[in-house]
Amino acid sequence: MPTEAPPAVVLEKLVRRFGERVVLDEVTLSVPSGQTLVVFGPNGAGKSTLLRVLATLLRPHRGVVKLLGEALPDRAWAVRSRVGLLTHESLLYRDLSARENLRFHARLHGATDERVEELLDAVKLRVRAGDPVHTYSRGMVQRAAVCRAVLHDPEILLLDEPLSNLDPAATELVEPLIGRASGRTRIVTSHDPAGGLADGDLALGLRAGRQVLLRAAADVTVADIGELYR
């Protein structure tokens, strides 16, 4: 009898505060392995904080957070090599080239230089790979950041508006790495209701840190998402 894969991400009544301000207020959800959760919400709703908690960069203040069966923050060390994070910041050193940045991160993650070249090829950055990152366009920086996020072949991807700054051609290039086709479990924040719903299996709506919507993406309409922003 086939057994169902355990969920890749489990949150039970997750609370996170900054000082007195509650940024995530009893968020509860479960994301099955290989599926995509799309997170919607206006600015300040807690989307980026949710990703940072899942990335082990912020500690949960209350509640249960489990990634790949490992409870955070106690077992954070055990999941770091299995999670990839793509944020608004590229997390690349501007004065180093894309190749130097990626080789540095490859060494930290135990990946090879061949993997770096493979990724530079995949996002068509090889020609400019030796130039300092500060000379790149925003789209090129984003492509290099995508390479950094998937360098270690993570099982879970945490993507904060991953397609911002990317033109349609670049979006196609990164799709096999961070898109649905990658086969990874993904938590994606988005401000694009139609695009986000089409990309996701589950939709989460946050407003002021509170979970106001959690359904299968197929059961959510663009109008439902629009309500979050009113």
């Binding site: 990335a55 082990t56 960069l57 912020l58 500690r59 060390w77 055990a78 999941v79 770091r80 090599s81 299995r82 999670v83 994070l85 944020t87 910041e89 590229s90 997390l91 690349l92 050193y93 501007r94 004065d95 180093l96 130097e100 540095f104 991160h105 060494r107 930290l108 993650h109 135990g110 300092p132 950094r148 270690h152 072949d153 099982e155 990658s182 086969g183 990874r184």
Partner: protein, 236 residues
């Protein structure tokens, strides 16, 4: 995507190597720390040269000028130590890596130590030319260099520890010297007391053993302390 089930970790040695290489590469490509410290120290010697209205200094005065200049130049370097990591988001990338966070501490101490050594390669000839009286013998000079090496280690440890703390604050330029300078007073006392007789005209030919011993003990204690608490400084 591979079906990875076990967490991968990078050995501490490999992580230190990668981090150290990155630090040196960044400084080579965009020199910030070494030129700032070098220019500061030479300018300070020039100011002392005219400010003290003495063509040469020796003994405790020479030791004091050298020690204090090294200390303040090092503060400039410590202030820049974590700036590129913080401003360019590198801190988060480091925290996401499956490496022991003390690797970062060790790599930063080693890189800062290397910057201080380069500083002294510039600073000592400038000090000799601009301020120092009749030169010490090779043996005396070697002992001064030995004391500087011990002091450098203490400065690198404290500079890295306090640099990591202050970078998390808005007023890092203020916080770093306010915390680091009092912590480094013992280093400066040992260094200046230790090398003063060596820099005196017809001074002692050998160093009093207690000063390097105290400096070594300081380095050991603060090295272990920093190693133990560094992880918590980076934590949320």
């Amino acid at each position: 995507m591979s079906a990875t089930q076990e967490p991968r970790t990078t050995t501490t040695r490999a992580a230190i190597g990668a981090l150290l290489r990155k630090e040196l590469l960044l400084e080579r490509k965009v020199p910030q720390v070494i030129p700032a410290m070098g220019l500061f120290s030479i300018t300070t010697f020039v100011i002392f040269h005219f400010g003290l209205d003495q063509r040469t200094v020796e003994g405790p005065l020479a030791a004091g000028v050298l020690s204090v200049t090294l200390l303040f130049a090092a503060m400039l370097g410590a202030n820049r130590l974590f700036v590129s990591d913080k401003e360019e988001g590198g801190f988060d990338a480091l925290l996401l890596a499956p490496v022991d966070r003390t690797s970062l501490f060790v790599a930063k101490v080693l890189s800062f130590l290397a910057f201080l050594v380069v500083l002294e390669i510039v600073m000592l000839p400038a000090f000799t030319v601009l301020l120092l009286g009749p030169g010490p013998s090779v043996g005396q000079f070697a002992q001064v260099v030995g004391m500087l090496a011990l002091a450098d280690l203490g400065i690198a440890i404290i500079g890295t520890l306090v640099g990591a703390l202050s970078i998390q604050t808005r007023a890092r330029d203020l916080i770093l010297p306010l915390i680091a300078l009092p912590l480094l007073v013992p280093v400066i006392i040992c260094l200046s007391q230790g090398i003063a007789p060596l820099l005196a005209q017809e001074g002692a030919s050998t160093l009093a053993g207690r000063w390097p011993a105290v400096l070594g003990l300081y380095d050991l204690i603060f090295g272990l302390l920093a190693f133990a608490v560094f992880d918590f400084l980076l934590d949320d």
